[in-house]
Amino acid sequence: MITGNVVVVGGGVAGMEVAGQLARSGCMVSLIEKESSAGGHIKEWHHLFPDRRNSMEVTDYLARQINHDNITLLTGTTIARMGYGKKVFTVDTENGKSISADAVVVATGFDLFRSERKEEYGYGIYDNVITSADLEVMFRNGEIKLTDGRRPEKIGIVHCVGSRDEKVGNIYCSKLCCITAVKQAMELKEHLSDARVYCFYMDMRMGGALYEETYRESQEKYGINFIRGKVSEVGETIDHKLIIKVEDTLVGRPLRMELDMIVLMAGMEMSKGGEQMAQIFGLKTGENRFFAAADHHYGSNESNVEALFFAGSCTAPMNITETISHARAAAAEVICYLRKAER
């Protein structure tokens, strides 16, 4: 067993996992979450890819992880200041608490790209242009319908919204949107068996475990259609149908399609909270604005500040599996550090 006080910033998947691991090793953990409850983005997700299990199963696991006497969960809390001296952090919260810690884990996660920034896609302008997050809410509510209450018959899914797009300042790939698109396309078909679903992609990036299999399944079992081309504009017809402008690059001709609903695959960005942490703790960020870890290969949990570690998607887009692995690695790093400090 090990002793020490650790502050974990961010109560999402990574923060909960790292807190649970540290608590079980003997550390006293303060888990700080800005929202009213822990859980992070996964709370808003209905089913997870690639196996489409219910996200509740994972949140239940995480809830069990942080249900430990050594963990103090501080919800509705943000950090105002911090000081570091004599190997001890003093973390002051906005609501006036002061916590001292031997180590800090930053697990501030990501923010979803605000799709209204791609104005040409008409999010917030046209009815029935929604984001992948909005669609998850619909799945959870068990009903997929248009704003006028009708069931959509023709649905377009637009990949790379806010990712791989220097026009919004994000040149990186968010890596999860392709598989999310495939997962959501299949689920749409499960809800609306008559609907036709079209995915508009630049490249299908199916690098994760079981991703390619899921992609194949979506074609084989669900009849999802894939069209290679970046959507340039979304418009509206007189009878309020959405109209999409894209080049079918494989045919080499422009393609126009009327749709009832468009789902934008919003990418991942460095979170606002993360940016604040970068300022407060003086942390380095990379060109993609996510935190820059000390080493890409063997130091992905270490930061440029002593005794401060990273966990999860605050360093790069990650899926749940990767986030949990990364959080466990962060816990191991913290324990290692505290052991060294004890000696």
């Binding site: 920034r117 104005e119 040409e120 008409g122 302008i125 046209y126 220097e166 026009k167 509206e236």
Partner: protein, 634 residues
């Protein structure tokens, strides 16, 4: 003592430059178009003449405009120009009054001290000598600044100094030598004869106390004459041609001559009138936001004068027009640049001969190839339904649907009969092609779109895009009213055709280049904003506004440099933390949206948000909808 051989270099230089000026004026005059010749003749014998003299005094000598923009730089230019002018004027009077006889050859005035070494010892003479010393000191102080500027531009408030070619260096050295050599020559002569005032006298007697002043003076008189002669002979092939060229420019401009769209005498005189002061460089966002320093007007004009290939740098400009506003010489920089852009495709119209002492029309000037029509694929325009108001969103507005939607809402609310010309996309207005120098191709698009407008029977054309607006106004031959949507909304408000709620938001307004400096629409947008929100100043108002960086005027700039300009401009415009940064151009909106976290919106959007939708469609708004009721609806 009427003559000494050392005056020969000066005399050669002086008579060379005088003869050159006459020959060159004849060539310039000959190359003017007939109307311009008439303008110049009329201007020369009319009111414009007096105005020109006044302007020459204020700008060429005093350098009032530079003084206003940058006092230290202005003082430098003024002391050299005005000081030298005073030195020649009072020197001539001095030679006339105190010399052996009246009406002397010019060199007598310039080298007065040499020929009258004992002059200036007592009485009125001493007073006059004091004046001459004072003028010399005035010039030397400016020269001192000029030397410092050359090595550390920041001292005179400049961020960047212009580069020089080798002949310019020789001319610059001779210019720099003129006044110090005069100072030393006069001082030594004064020292020998015990004459001279506070400057030359004091310096002279001190030098004479340990130097053989009499023997040393003579070589310095030679140096003085040589530097003058060299300077005059090099003047036509160096940037110093700007000194006489500016005089021609002022006369021509006051006679009503303008640049036009082809190279000619006037554009050439403008190119030669540039003193490379560098004010345009300091004004340029390419410089201060993106660190690009090779394409600004001062550099472009130098390249034109040196007969260099300008095809890359001519196209590497946002055409925002900020430099036009500030050029102290009043060169129509953007018009000159446009001429160079057209020449990218046609080849230069003029070439330098005799090392640039003259420029001649290019004999083998190739007319534009491609006699065929490029855009003949555009469909015949069908006669559309007749309408009153025609709305043309423009290409860019199709990428900002919030703007076109807002306009649809406002147009509907106005109750006017209108139709959407390019709802499903139209042809381009032609301005981007014009900006690239392809006038002929642009004309094809203009004809196409004109026909569509004519056939609609509308009496008013409204566009959301300032780029389109400028070309509709300037290059289309439309006999209907053309309005930018800001002006149109202003009219709707004035005529009480739309009513709006007041949104209690603090907003800043960015004037787009094409709408502001481009077409002088400054007040209407602000008036409209004040109807719906609290308008705050940005510090970059009206003609001082910034470019968003997205400008179609620049064909060469990389997207990364565009982003630098956009981020910098957005940061400046939002430095007082407005809730919304408002603009009136789809391109500005798009560019700024990606460059700041502040909300960016078009005027039409806040108007559409505030507009009160009338309950019933017809009878006119005024009678059917009292304001109190309208508020309830919202």
């Amino acid at each position: 003592m009427q003559f000494d051989p050392f005056v020969i270099p000066f005399n050669i230089g002086l008579y060379f430059i005088l003869i050159y000026a006459v020959v060159r004026s004849i060539i310039w005059f000959r190359d003017l178009s007939r109307p311009d010749k008439l303008r110049l003749q009329r201007g020369f014998f009319g009111k414009a003449f007096g105005q020109s003299l006044k302007e020459i005094f204020l700008e060429s000598l005093i350098h009032r405009k530079i003084l206003r923009t940058n006092p230290r730089l202005g003082y430098m230019h003024m002391s050299l120009a005005f000081g030298w002018f005073l030195l020649i004027l009072f020197g001539t009077i001095e030679a006339d009054i105190f010399g052996e006889k009246h009406l002397n050859p010019p060199y007598k005035a310039i080298f007065f001290k040499f020929f009258n070494p004992g002059h200036g010892i007592g009485g009125f003479e001493a007073g006059y000598a004091f004046l001459m010393d004072l003028i010399l000191l005035f010039i030397l102080s400016g020269l001192f600044l000029a030397v410092i500027k050359r090595f550390t531009p920041k001292v005179v408030g400049m961020k960047k100094s212009t580069k020089l070619k080798s002949l310019d260096r020789v001319a610059l050295t001779s210019l720099w030598l003129i006044f110090p050599s005069r100072l030393i020559a006069e001082s030594l002569t004064s020292g020998e004869y015990g004459s001279g005032s506070f400057l030359t006298g004091t310096l002279g007697s001190w030098l004479a106390s340990f130097l053989p002043a009499g023997e040393l003076a003579y070589p310095f008189w030679w140096l003085y004459s040589l530097s003058l002669g060299t300077f005059f002979i090099l003047l036509p092939v160096t940037r110093y041609l700007h000194i006489p060229a500016e005089l021609f420019l002022i006369f021509m401009r006051n006679s009503g001559i303008r640049t036009g769209d082809k190279a000619g005498s006037y554009s050439e005189i403008q190119a030669h009138s540039c003193s490379s002061c560098g004010i345009c460089i300091d004004q340029c966002q390419m410089n201060f936001s993106a660190g690009i320093n090779n394409m600004q007007p001062a550099y472009l004009i130098t390249a034109i004068r040196n007969n260099e290939d300008t095809s890359e740098i001519a196209l590497n400009c946002l055409m925002c027009g900020r430099c036009d506003q500030k050029c102290p010489v009043g060169i129509e920089i953007s018009a000159v640049r446009m001429i160079q852009r057209r020449e990218v495709y046609t080849g230069p119209e003029f070439r330098n001969v005799w090392k640039g002492y003259f420029r001649l029309r290019n004999g083998d000037h190739t007319p534009k190839p491609n006699g065929h029509h490029v855009y003949d694929y555009l469909p015949e325009t069908a006669g559309s339904e007749k309408t009153d108001i025609l709305y043309f969103a423009g290409c860019m507005t199709h990428l900002t649907p919030a703007i076109s939607r807002s306009m649809v809402k406002i147009l509907d609310a106005s109750g006017l009969k209108w139709s959407f010309l390019d709802k499903d996309g139209g042809a381009c207005c032609g301005r981007p092609l014009m900006l690239a120098g392809n006038d002929k191709e642009a004309r094809e698009l203009i004809n196409h779109t004109s026909e569509m407008i004519w056939k609609s029977g509308a009496h008013t054309l409204v566009t959301s895009c300032p780029i389109c607006y400028k070309v509709f106004r300037e290059s289309y031959y439309l006999d209907i009213e053309v309005l930018h949507h800001t002006q149109f909304i202003k009219n709707l408000i004035d005529e009480d055709l739309v009513r709006m709620n007041f949104l209690h938001k603090r907003v800043a307004y960015h004037t787009p280049c094409e709408l502001g400096r481009g077409t002088l629409v400054y007040s209407e947008p602000k008036d409209v904003i004040r109807h719906v929100a609290i308008l705050e100043e940005t510090g970059y108002e009206d003609e001082n506004s910034l470019c968003c960086g997205g400008s179609l005027g620049n064909i060469k700039i990389s997207s990364r440099d565009r982003q630098k300009i956009a981020v910098d401009a957005a940061a400046r415009l939002t430095s007082r933390n407005p809730e919304i940064l408002i603009t009136s151009c789809p391109l500005c909106k798009k560019t700024f949206s990606a460059a700041t976290s502040t909300k960016v919106a078009d005027i039409s959007e806040i108007v559409a948000e505030a507009v009160i939708i009338p309950k019933t469609e017809k009878p006119p708004l005024k009678h059917s909808l009292p304001v109190a009721e309208a508020v309830n609806i919202f």
